[in-house]
Amino acid sequence: MKLLGEDIVTETGEFIINMGPQHPSTHGVLHLKIWLDGETIKKIEPHLGYIHRSIEKMSEKMSYRQFIYLTSRMDYLSAHMNNQACALVVEKALQVEVPERAKAIRILLAELSRIGSHLLWFASVGLDLGGVTPFFYAFREREAINSLMEENCGARLTQNFHVPGGILEDVNPDFQKRVKEVIKQLKDNFHEYDEILTGNVIFQNRLKGVGYLSKEDAISLGCSGPTARASGVVCDIRKSNPYDGYEKLEFDEVVLTGGDSWARYQVRMAEMLQSIKIIEQMIDNMPEGDIVAKTKNVIKLPKGEFYQRVETARGELGVYIVSEGAATPYRCKYRSPNFANLSAIPIAAKGGKIGDLIAIMATVDLIIPDIDR
Protein backbone atom coordinates (compact mmCIF):
# COMPACT_ATOMS: atom_id res chain seq x y z
CA MET A 1 0.00 0.00 0.00
CA LYS A 2 1.37 3.35 -1.02
CA LEU A 3 0.55 6.82 0.18
CA LEU A 4 2.11 9.81 -1.58
CA GLY A 5 4.57 7.48 -3.26
CA GLU A 6 5.82 6.08 0.01
CA ASP A 7 5.22 2.66 1.43
CA ILE A 8 3.10 2.79 4.54
CA VAL A 9 2.71 -0.93 4.94
CA THR A 10 5.66 -3.19 4.31
CA GLU A 11 5.52 -6.56 2.61
CA THR A 12 5.45 -8.28 5.99
CA GLY A 13 2.41 -6.25 6.96
CA GLU A 14 4.16 -3.76 9.20
CA PHE A 15 2.86 -0.25 9.40
CA ILE A 16 5.45 2.50 9.11
CA ILE A 17 4.89 5.78 10.89
CA ASN A 18 7.20 8.73 11.16
CA MET A 19 7.30 10.08 14.66
CA GLY A 20 8.75 13.50 14.31
CA PRO A 21 10.48 15.74 13.35
CA GLN A 22 7.29 17.55 14.34
CA HIS A 23 5.74 15.61 17.15
CA PRO A 24 4.60 16.75 20.58
CA SER A 25 6.63 14.29 22.60
CA THR A 26 9.95 14.11 20.81
CA HIS A 27 10.92 17.36 22.60
CA GLY A 28 12.46 18.81 19.48
CA VAL A 29 13.20 17.83 15.96
CA LEU A 30 14.02 14.18 16.48
CA HIS A 31 12.70 11.92 13.76
CA LEU A 32 11.97 8.30 14.61
CA LYS A 33 10.84 5.99 11.86
CA ILE A 34 8.79 3.25 13.48
CA TRP A 35 7.74 -0.11 12.10
CA LEU A 36 4.53 -1.11 13.85
CA ASP A 37 2.63 -4.35 14.04
CA GLY A 38 -0.72 -3.18 15.36
CA GLU A 39 0.42 -1.16 18.35
CA THR A 40 3.59 -3.16 18.91
CA ILE A 41 6.89 -1.66 17.86
CA LYS A 42 9.00 -3.90 15.65
CA LYS A 43 11.84 -1.59 14.76
CA ILE A 44 12.90 1.99 15.28
CA GLU A 45 15.26 4.01 13.16
CA PRO A 46 16.29 7.43 14.48
CA HIS A 47 16.99 10.02 11.81
CA LEU A 48 19.20 12.88 12.86
CA GLY A 49 20.46 16.11 11.44
CA TYR A 50 17.48 18.43 11.73
CA ILE A 51 19.20 20.73 14.17
CA HIS A 52 22.83 20.44 13.20
CA ARG A 53 24.55 23.78 13.78
CA SER A 54 28.16 22.68 13.28
CA ILE A 55 29.21 23.74 16.74
CA GLU A 56 32.39 21.67 16.50
CA LYS A 57 33.44 23.31 13.26
CA MET A 58 32.56 26.76 14.56
CA SER A 59 34.74 26.13 17.59
CA GLU A 60 37.76 25.79 15.31
CA LYS A 61 37.41 29.42 14.33
CA MET A 62 37.04 30.73 17.82
CA SER A 63 39.44 31.59 20.56
CA TYR A 64 39.57 29.57 23.76
CA ARG A 65 37.59 32.26 25.53
CA GLN A 66 34.91 32.38 22.89
CA PHE A 67 34.24 28.72 22.23
CA ILE A 68 32.89 28.15 25.73
CA TYR A 69 29.70 30.02 25.05
CA LEU A 70 28.75 27.80 22.09
CA THR A 71 28.40 24.80 24.37
CA SER A 72 25.53 26.44 26.23
CA ARG A 73 23.49 25.81 23.13
CA MET A 74 24.14 22.08 23.05
CA ASP A 75 22.40 20.79 26.12
CA TYR A 76 20.65 23.97 27.10
CA LEU A 77 19.36 22.51 30.35
CA SER A 78 22.82 21.78 31.68
CA ALA A 79 24.46 24.80 30.06
CA HIS A 80 26.41 25.45 33.20
CA MET A 81 28.02 22.00 33.20
CA ASN A 82 28.81 22.22 29.49
CA ASN A 83 30.59 25.52 30.01
CA GLN A 84 32.38 24.00 32.94
CA ALA A 85 33.73 21.19 30.77
CA CYS A 86 35.17 23.65 28.28
CA ALA A 87 36.69 25.82 30.96
CA LEU A 88 38.19 22.75 32.61
CA VAL A 89 39.84 21.48 29.45
CA VAL A 90 41.52 24.83 28.87
CA GLU A 91 42.64 24.96 32.50
CA LYS A 92 43.95 21.42 32.23
CA ALA A 93 45.99 22.29 29.15
CA LEU A 94 47.35 25.47 30.65
CA GLN A 95 47.85 23.80 34.03
CA VAL A 96 46.14 26.66 35.80
CA GLU A 97 45.04 26.18 39.37
CA VAL A 98 41.49 27.46 39.82
CA PRO A 99 40.86 29.35 43.08
CA GLU A 100 38.91 27.46 45.72
CA ARG A 101 36.06 29.95 45.81
CA ALA A 102 35.56 29.68 42.07
CA LYS A 103 35.46 25.90 42.36
CA ALA A 104 32.88 26.06 45.12
CA ILE A 105 30.67 28.43 43.17
CA ARG A 106 31.01 26.27 40.09
CA ILE A 107 29.85 23.19 41.94
CA LEU A 108 27.00 24.99 43.66
CA LEU A 109 25.66 26.37 40.42
CA ALA A 110 26.25 23.10 38.61
CA GLU A 111 24.25 21.17 41.20
CA LEU A 112 21.51 23.79 41.12
CA SER A 113 21.27 23.51 37.38
CA ARG A 114 21.28 19.73 37.69
CA ILE A 115 18.26 20.01 39.97
CA GLY A 116 16.68 22.45 37.55
CA SER A 117 17.29 20.11 34.68
CA HIS A 118 15.85 17.14 36.51
CA LEU A 119 12.83 19.22 37.51
CA LEU A 120 12.17 20.01 33.88
CA TRP A 121 12.61 16.35 33.12
CA PHE A 122 10.11 15.47 35.84
CA ALA A 123 7.69 17.99 34.40
CA SER A 124 8.02 16.59 30.92
CA VAL A 125 7.67 12.99 32.03
CA GLY A 126 4.32 13.88 33.49
CA LEU A 127 3.38 15.80 30.40
CA ASP A 128 4.40 13.03 28.02
CA LEU A 129 2.40 10.46 29.91
CA GLY A 130 -0.67 12.68 29.79
CA GLY A 131 -0.64 14.34 33.22
CA VAL A 132 -0.36 18.07 32.70
CA THR A 133 -0.57 19.18 36.30
CA PRO A 134 2.85 17.97 37.59
CA PHE A 135 4.42 20.21 34.97
CA PHE A 136 3.34 23.32 36.81
CA TYR A 137 4.36 22.05 40.23
CA ALA A 138 7.86 21.27 38.99
CA PHE A 139 8.16 24.53 37.12
CA ARG A 140 7.33 26.46 40.27
CA GLU A 141 10.58 25.25 41.84
CA ARG A 142 12.50 25.45 38.60
CA GLU A 143 11.46 29.05 38.34
CA ALA A 144 13.09 29.75 41.69
CA ILE A 145 16.33 28.14 40.50
CA ASN A 146 16.23 30.06 37.25
CA SER A 147 15.68 33.31 39.09
CA LEU A 148 18.69 32.54 41.24
CA MET A 149 20.75 31.92 38.11
CA GLU A 150 19.48 35.15 36.62
CA GLU A 151 20.47 37.12 39.70
CA ASN A 152 23.97 35.71 39.86
CA CYS A 153 24.94 34.78 36.32
CA GLY A 154 22.92 37.29 34.34
CA ALA A 155 20.97 34.78 32.32
CA ARG A 156 18.44 32.12 33.08
CA LEU A 157 19.44 29.28 30.79
CA THR A 158 22.60 30.06 28.88
CA GLN A 159 24.55 31.38 31.79
CA ASN A 160 28.05 31.75 30.27
CA PHE A 161 29.42 32.12 33.75
CA HIS A 162 32.73 30.38 33.13
CA VAL A 163 35.97 31.82 31.91
CA PRO A 164 39.19 29.82 31.62
CA GLY A 165 40.66 29.94 35.10
CA GLY A 166 37.55 30.57 37.11
CA ILE A 167 34.23 32.31 36.88
CA LEU A 168 33.17 35.58 35.35
CA GLU A 169 32.30 37.51 38.48
CA ASP A 170 31.70 36.87 42.12
CA VAL A 171 28.24 35.87 43.24
CA ASN A 172 25.94 38.35 44.93
CA PRO A 173 26.40 38.92 48.68
CA ASP A 174 22.99 37.38 49.40
CA PHE A 175 23.82 34.27 47.38
CA GLN A 176 23.93 31.93 50.36
CA LYS A 177 20.64 33.20 51.72
CA ARG A 178 18.94 32.84 48.36
CA VAL A 179 20.28 29.33 47.77
CA LYS A 180 18.97 28.28 51.16
CA GLU A 181 15.56 29.71 50.30
CA VAL A 182 15.47 27.82 47.03
CA ILE A 183 16.55 24.57 48.66
CA LYS A 184 13.98 25.00 51.41
CA GLN A 185 11.23 25.59 48.87
CA LEU A 186 12.31 22.51 46.96
CA LYS A 187 12.42 20.32 50.04
CA ASP A 188 9.06 21.57 51.25
CA ASN A 189 7.39 20.80 47.97
CA PHE A 190 9.18 17.59 47.09
CA HIS A 191 6.49 15.43 48.67
CA GLU A 192 3.98 16.83 46.21
CA TYR A 193 5.85 15.20 43.36
CA ASP A 194 5.52 11.86 45.08
CA GLU A 195 1.84 12.41 45.69
CA ILE A 196 0.89 13.51 42.22
CA LEU A 197 3.13 11.29 40.12
CA THR A 198 5.51 8.87 41.85
CA GLY A 199 2.88 7.19 43.95
CA ASN A 200 0.23 7.21 41.26
CA VAL A 201 -0.68 3.69 40.22
CA ILE A 202 -1.33 4.62 36.59
CA PHE A 203 2.06 6.29 36.37
CA GLN A 204 3.85 3.34 37.95
CA ASN A 205 2.18 0.91 35.61
CA ARG A 206 3.19 3.02 32.65
CA LEU A 207 6.86 2.83 33.66
CA LYS A 208 7.40 -0.48 35.48
CA GLY A 209 8.90 -3.14 33.26
CA VAL A 210 8.85 -0.83 30.27
CA GLY A 211 11.89 -0.26 28.08
CA TYR A 212 14.31 -2.67 29.65
CA LEU A 213 17.94 -1.84 28.94
CA SER A 214 20.41 -4.46 30.14
CA LYS A 215 23.72 -3.57 31.75
CA GLU A 216 25.65 -5.06 28.84
CA ASP A 217 23.66 -3.05 26.32
CA ALA A 218 24.06 0.11 28.31
CA ILE A 219 27.83 -0.35 28.40
CA SER A 220 28.23 -1.36 24.78
CA LEU A 221 26.08 1.51 23.55
CA GLY A 222 28.06 4.00 25.61
CA CYS A 223 25.10 5.15 27.67
CA SER A 224 25.94 7.35 30.59
CA GLY A 225 24.37 9.36 33.31
CA PRO A 226 21.13 8.38 35.00
CA THR A 227 20.12 6.28 31.99
CA ALA A 228 23.09 3.97 32.45
CA ARG A 229 23.03 4.10 36.23
CA ALA A 230 19.47 2.78 36.17
CA SER A 231 20.83 -0.30 34.40
CA GLY A 232 23.44 -0.88 37.05
CA VAL A 233 26.42 0.77 35.39
CA VAL A 234 28.61 2.68 37.80
CA CYS A 235 29.54 5.69 35.73
CA ASP A 236 29.32 8.91 37.71
CA ILE A 237 32.23 11.11 36.57
CA ARG A 238 31.90 13.11 39.75
CA LYS A 239 32.99 9.96 41.62
CA SER A 240 35.33 8.25 39.18
CA ASN A 241 37.18 11.28 37.81
CA PRO A 242 36.40 14.08 40.24
CA TYR A 243 36.87 17.64 39.05
CA ASP A 244 36.55 21.03 40.72
CA GLY A 245 36.64 19.54 44.18
CA TYR A 246 33.90 16.92 43.98
CA GLU A 247 36.32 14.55 45.69
CA LYS A 248 35.94 16.44 48.97
CA LEU A 249 32.18 16.10 49.02
CA GLU A 250 30.06 13.38 50.46
CA PHE A 251 27.31 12.12 48.27
CA ASP A 252 26.06 8.79 46.98
CA GLU A 253 26.14 7.66 43.41
CA VAL A 254 22.61 6.44 42.78
CA VAL A 255 22.82 3.10 41.00
CA LEU A 256 19.81 0.88 40.48
CA THR A 257 19.67 -2.43 38.69
CA GLY A 258 16.13 -2.36 37.37
CA GLY A 259 17.04 -1.17 33.89
CA ASP A 260 13.47 -0.19 33.08
CA SER A 261 11.84 3.22 32.83
CA TRP A 262 10.80 3.08 36.46
CA ALA A 263 14.44 2.66 37.52
CA ARG A 264 15.45 5.59 35.33
CA TYR A 265 12.72 7.62 36.95
CA GLN A 266 13.83 6.71 40.45
CA VAL A 267 17.49 7.42 39.73
CA ARG A 268 16.73 10.94 38.64
CA MET A 269 14.42 11.60 41.58
CA ALA A 270 17.10 10.35 43.96
CA GLU A 271 19.77 12.40 42.22
CA MET A 272 17.87 15.55 42.97
CA LEU A 273 18.07 14.71 46.66
CA GLN A 274 21.79 13.98 46.34
CA SER A 275 22.31 17.35 44.70
CA ILE A 276 20.49 18.98 47.56
CA LYS A 277 22.84 17.13 49.90
CA ILE A 278 25.88 18.48 48.04
CA ILE A 279 24.54 22.01 48.10
CA GLU A 280 23.80 21.83 51.80
CA GLN A 281 27.35 20.67 52.50
CA MET A 282 28.91 23.50 50.55
CA ILE A 283 26.69 26.45 51.14
CA ASP A 284 27.77 27.20 54.69
CA ASN A 285 31.50 26.85 54.16
CA MET A 286 32.25 28.62 50.95
CA PRO A 287 35.92 29.56 50.85
CA GLU A 288 36.85 33.21 50.47
CA GLY A 289 39.33 34.54 47.97
CA ASP A 290 39.83 35.11 44.29
CA ILE A 291 37.34 33.97 41.76
CA VAL A 292 39.56 33.74 38.73
CA ALA A 293 43.14 32.63 38.16
CA LYS A 294 45.29 34.87 36.06
CA THR A 295 45.50 33.82 32.44
CA LYS A 296 46.93 35.55 29.41
CA ASN A 297 44.71 37.77 27.40
CA VAL A 298 45.11 35.64 24.29
CA ILE A 299 45.12 32.05 25.42
CA LYS A 300 47.31 29.70 23.43
CA LEU A 301 47.17 26.05 24.36
CA PRO A 302 50.37 24.03 24.14
CA LYS A 303 50.64 21.59 21.29
CA GLY A 304 48.87 18.35 22.07
CA GLU A 305 45.55 16.65 22.74
CA PHE A 306 43.41 17.40 25.73
CA TYR A 307 40.32 15.68 27.03
CA GLN A 308 38.12 16.51 29.94
CA ARG A 309 34.81 15.04 30.92
CA VAL A 310 32.15 16.20 33.31
CA GLU A 311 28.91 14.76 34.55
CA THR A 312 26.07 16.80 33.13
CA ALA A 313 22.47 16.23 34.08
CA ARG A 314 22.15 13.66 31.31
CA GLY A 315 25.48 11.91 31.50
CA GLU A 316 29.05 12.16 30.50
CA LEU A 317 30.07 15.14 28.41
CA GLY A 318 33.57 14.94 27.03
CA VAL A 319 35.46 17.79 25.40
CA TYR A 320 38.36 16.75 23.21
CA ILE A 321 40.68 19.39 21.86
CA VAL A 322 43.59 19.01 19.48
CA SER A 323 45.84 22.01 19.69
CA GLU A 324 48.57 23.02 17.27
CA GLY A 325 49.74 25.72 19.61
CA ALA A 326 47.59 28.39 18.01
CA ALA A 327 44.98 30.64 19.60
CA THR A 328 42.17 28.48 18.20
CA PRO A 329 41.61 24.74 18.47
CA TYR A 330 42.78 22.64 15.55
CA ARG A 331 39.99 20.18 16.18
CA CYS A 332 37.26 20.21 18.74
CA LYS A 333 35.07 17.24 19.46
CA TYR A 334 32.24 16.92 21.96
CA ARG A 335 31.26 13.53 23.23
CA SER A 336 27.67 14.31 24.04
CA PRO A 337 25.64 12.15 26.42
CA ASN A 338 22.39 12.37 24.50
CA PHE A 339 23.75 10.93 21.29
CA ALA A 340 24.81 7.77 23.07
CA ASN A 341 21.63 7.62 25.10
CA LEU A 342 19.54 7.96 21.96
CA SER A 343 20.98 4.70 20.66
CA ALA A 344 19.42 2.96 23.66
CA ILE A 345 15.91 3.85 22.54
CA PRO A 346 15.58 1.43 19.59
CA ILE A 347 16.73 -1.44 21.80
CA ALA A 348 14.68 -0.48 24.82
CA ALA A 349 11.48 0.21 22.91
CA LYS A 350 11.50 -2.89 20.75
CA GLY A 351 8.46 -5.03 21.41
CA GLY A 352 6.71 -2.31 23.38
CA LYS A 353 3.66 -0.26 22.54
CA ILE A 354 3.54 3.28 21.17
CA GLY A 355 2.73 4.49 24.64
CA ASP A 356 5.83 2.71 25.92
CA LEU A 357 8.01 4.48 23.40
CA ILE A 358 6.76 7.79 24.76
CA ALA A 359 7.55 6.67 28.29
CA ILE A 360 11.03 5.54 27.27
CA MET A 361 11.80 8.75 25.43
CA ALA A 362 10.60 10.69 28.44
CA THR A 363 12.70 8.78 30.95
CA VAL A 364 15.87 8.64 28.85
CA ASP A 365 15.49 12.42 28.82
CA LEU A 366 16.83 13.42 25.45
CA ILE A 367 17.80 16.94 24.54
CA ILE A 368 17.78 16.99 20.76
CA PRO A 369 20.15 19.94 20.14
CA ASP A 370 22.78 17.98 22.04
CA ILE A 371 22.42 14.98 19.72
CA ASP A 372 23.18 16.89 16.57
CA ARG A 373 25.26 19.76 17.90
Binding site: M62, S63, R65, Q66, F67, Y69, L70, T133, R140, E143, S147, E150, E151, N152, C153, G154, A155, T158, N160, V163, L168, E169, N172, E192, E195, I196, L197, G199, N200, V201, I202
Partner: protein, 159 residues
Protein backbone atom coordinates in the same frame (compact mmCIF):
# COMPACT_ATOMS: atom_id res chain seq x y z
CA UNK B 1 -4.43 -15.71 48.15
CA UNK B 2 -5.41 -14.58 44.70
CA UNK B 3 -8.50 -12.83 46.01
CA UNK B 4 -6.47 -11.05 48.66
CA UNK B 5 -3.95 -9.85 46.11
CA UNK B 6 -6.71 -8.80 43.72
CA UNK B 7 -8.48 -6.64 46.24
CA UNK B 8 -5.20 -5.42 47.69
CA UNK B 9 -4.29 -4.08 44.25
CA UNK B 10 -7.61 -2.34 43.95
CA UNK B 11 -7.34 -0.83 47.40
CA UNK B 12 -3.80 0.46 46.88
CA UNK B 13 -4.62 1.82 43.44
CA UNK B 14 -7.64 3.72 44.64
CA UNK B 15 -5.67 5.03 47.58
CA UNK B 16 -2.86 6.33 45.37
CA UNK B 17 -5.33 7.95 43.00
CA UNK B 18 -7.13 9.63 45.86
CA UNK B 19 -3.80 10.98 47.17
CA UNK B 20 -3.26 12.72 43.84
CA UNK B 21 -6.80 14.06 43.80
CA UNK B 22 -6.35 15.38 47.31
CA UNK B 23 -3.37 17.42 46.16
CA UNK B 24 -5.12 18.90 43.13
CA UNK B 25 -8.16 19.49 45.28
CA UNK B 26 -5.99 21.33 47.77
CA UNK B 27 -4.69 23.68 45.09
CA UNK B 28 -8.18 24.11 43.66
CA UNK B 29 -9.40 25.35 47.02
CA UNK B 30 -6.28 27.37 47.86
CA UNK B 31 -6.22 29.93 45.11
CA UNK B 32 -3.91 32.22 47.06
CA UNK B 33 -1.09 29.85 46.11
CA UNK B 34 -1.32 30.82 42.45
CA UNK B 35 2.12 31.65 41.12
CA UNK B 36 1.28 33.19 37.76
CA UNK B 37 3.07 36.42 37.01
CA UNK B 38 0.74 38.56 34.96
CA UNK B 39 3.56 40.01 32.97
CA UNK B 40 2.43 43.09 31.08
CA UNK B 41 0.34 44.16 34.06
CA UNK B 42 3.08 43.80 36.63
CA UNK B 43 5.60 45.72 34.57
CA UNK B 44 5.79 48.47 37.17
CA UNK B 45 6.70 46.09 39.98
CA UNK B 46 8.80 43.72 37.92
CA UNK B 47 12.22 43.18 39.44
CA UNK B 48 14.95 42.60 36.90
CA UNK B 49 18.21 41.54 38.54
CA UNK B 50 20.98 44.04 38.15
CA UNK B 51 23.21 41.51 36.44
CA UNK B 52 20.65 40.48 33.88
CA UNK B 53 22.20 40.68 30.42
CA UNK B 54 19.62 42.09 28.06
CA UNK B 55 21.57 44.21 25.62
CA UNK B 56 24.86 46.06 25.29
CA UNK B 57 24.64 49.71 26.21
CA UNK B 58 27.17 52.53 26.21
CA UNK B 59 26.64 54.89 29.11
CA UNK B 60 27.03 58.58 28.34
CA UNK B 61 27.47 61.16 31.06
CA UNK B 62 25.72 64.53 31.31
CA UNK B 63 28.25 66.20 28.98
CA UNK B 64 27.41 63.66 26.26
CA UNK B 65 30.75 62.00 26.76
CA UNK B 66 31.47 58.29 26.60
CA UNK B 67 34.51 56.23 27.54
CA UNK B 68 35.07 54.35 24.26
CA UNK B 69 38.51 54.84 22.75
CA UNK B 70 37.76 52.75 19.69
CA UNK B 71 40.34 50.11 20.52
CA UNK B 72 38.15 47.38 18.99
CA UNK B 73 38.82 44.86 21.78
CA UNK B 74 35.11 44.20 22.00
CA UNK B 75 34.85 43.67 18.27
CA UNK B 76 37.63 41.09 18.44
CA UNK B 77 36.25 39.35 21.49
CA UNK B 78 32.75 38.98 20.14
CA UNK B 79 32.14 35.40 18.98
CA UNK B 80 29.35 36.32 16.61
CA UNK B 81 30.50 39.42 14.85
CA UNK B 82 27.82 41.41 16.59
CA UNK B 83 29.89 44.56 17.00
CA UNK B 84 31.29 46.73 14.23
CA UNK B 85 33.30 49.80 15.15
CA UNK B 86 33.94 52.42 12.50
CA UNK B 87 36.75 54.78 13.42
CA UNK B 88 37.96 58.03 11.94
CA UNK B 89 40.99 60.25 12.35
CA UNK B 90 40.22 63.33 14.39
CA UNK B 91 42.47 66.34 14.65
CA UNK B 92 43.03 67.23 18.27
CA UNK B 93 43.32 70.83 19.53
CA UNK B 94 47.08 70.36 19.84
CA UNK B 95 47.30 69.44 16.15
CA UNK B 96 47.87 65.71 16.66
CA UNK B 97 45.79 63.21 14.74
CA UNK B 98 44.03 60.66 16.90
CA UNK B 99 41.78 57.68 16.22
CA UNK B 100 38.24 58.24 17.46
CA UNK B 101 35.05 56.25 17.02
CA UNK B 102 32.66 57.39 14.36
CA UNK B 103 29.92 54.83 14.86
CA UNK B 104 29.63 51.95 17.26
CA UNK B 105 27.32 49.55 15.43
CA UNK B 106 25.57 46.91 17.51
CA UNK B 107 23.62 44.15 15.82
CA UNK B 108 21.23 43.08 18.55
CA UNK B 109 19.80 40.38 16.29
CA UNK B 110 23.14 38.54 16.29
CA UNK B 111 23.95 39.04 19.96
CA UNK B 112 23.83 36.03 22.31
CA UNK B 113 24.35 38.12 25.48
CA UNK B 114 27.51 36.30 26.49
CA UNK B 115 29.01 39.47 27.90
CA UNK B 116 32.48 38.90 26.51
CA UNK B 117 32.70 42.38 25.02
CA UNK B 118 32.10 43.90 28.43
CA UNK B 119 34.83 41.75 29.96
CA UNK B 120 37.21 42.63 27.14
CA UNK B 121 36.71 46.38 27.29
CA UNK B 122 39.75 48.02 28.91
CA UNK B 123 38.02 51.33 29.62
CA UNK B 124 34.64 50.13 30.85
CA UNK B 125 32.94 51.98 28.05
CA UNK B 126 30.19 49.45 27.54
CA UNK B 127 28.08 47.36 29.86
CA UNK B 128 25.12 45.05 29.74
CA UNK B 129 21.74 46.69 30.15
CA UNK B 130 18.64 45.21 31.71
CA UNK B 131 16.22 45.95 28.89
CA UNK B 132 14.60 42.76 27.67
CA UNK B 133 11.64 43.89 25.61
CA UNK B 134 13.37 43.91 22.28
CA UNK B 135 10.54 43.01 19.94
CA UNK B 136 10.31 45.20 16.86
CA UNK B 137 8.35 45.03 13.65
CA UNK B 138 11.34 44.93 11.37
CA UNK B 139 14.69 43.24 11.74
CA UNK B 140 16.53 46.34 10.57
CA UNK B 141 15.43 48.13 13.73
CA UNK B 142 17.63 45.76 15.72
CA UNK B 143 20.76 47.35 14.28
CA UNK B 144 21.66 49.98 16.80
CA UNK B 145 24.25 52.72 16.96
CA UNK B 146 25.36 53.04 20.53
CA UNK B 147 27.33 56.27 20.56
CA UNK B 148 25.01 59.23 20.68
CA UNK B 149 25.27 61.93 18.00
CA UNK B 150 28.06 64.45 18.65
CA UNK B 151 29.27 62.53 21.66
CA UNK B 152 32.90 62.77 22.63
CA UNK B 153 35.48 60.69 24.37
CA UNK B 154 35.73 61.57 28.02
CA UNK B 155 38.94 63.32 28.95
CA UNK B 156 41.50 61.21 30.73
CA UNK B 157 40.16 57.82 29.70
CA UNK B 158 42.99 57.18 27.28
CA UNK B 159 45.74 57.78 29.83
Amino acid sequence: MFIKEYFGTIFNSVKSLLTGMKLTGYYFTHQNKIITEEYPDNRATLIIPERFRGEVIMPHDENNEHRCTGCQSCELSCPNGTIKIITQQEIQPDGKKKKRIHTWVYHLDMCTMCGMCVTACPTEAIKMGNEFEHSVYDKSQLKKILNKPDSKLKQGVED
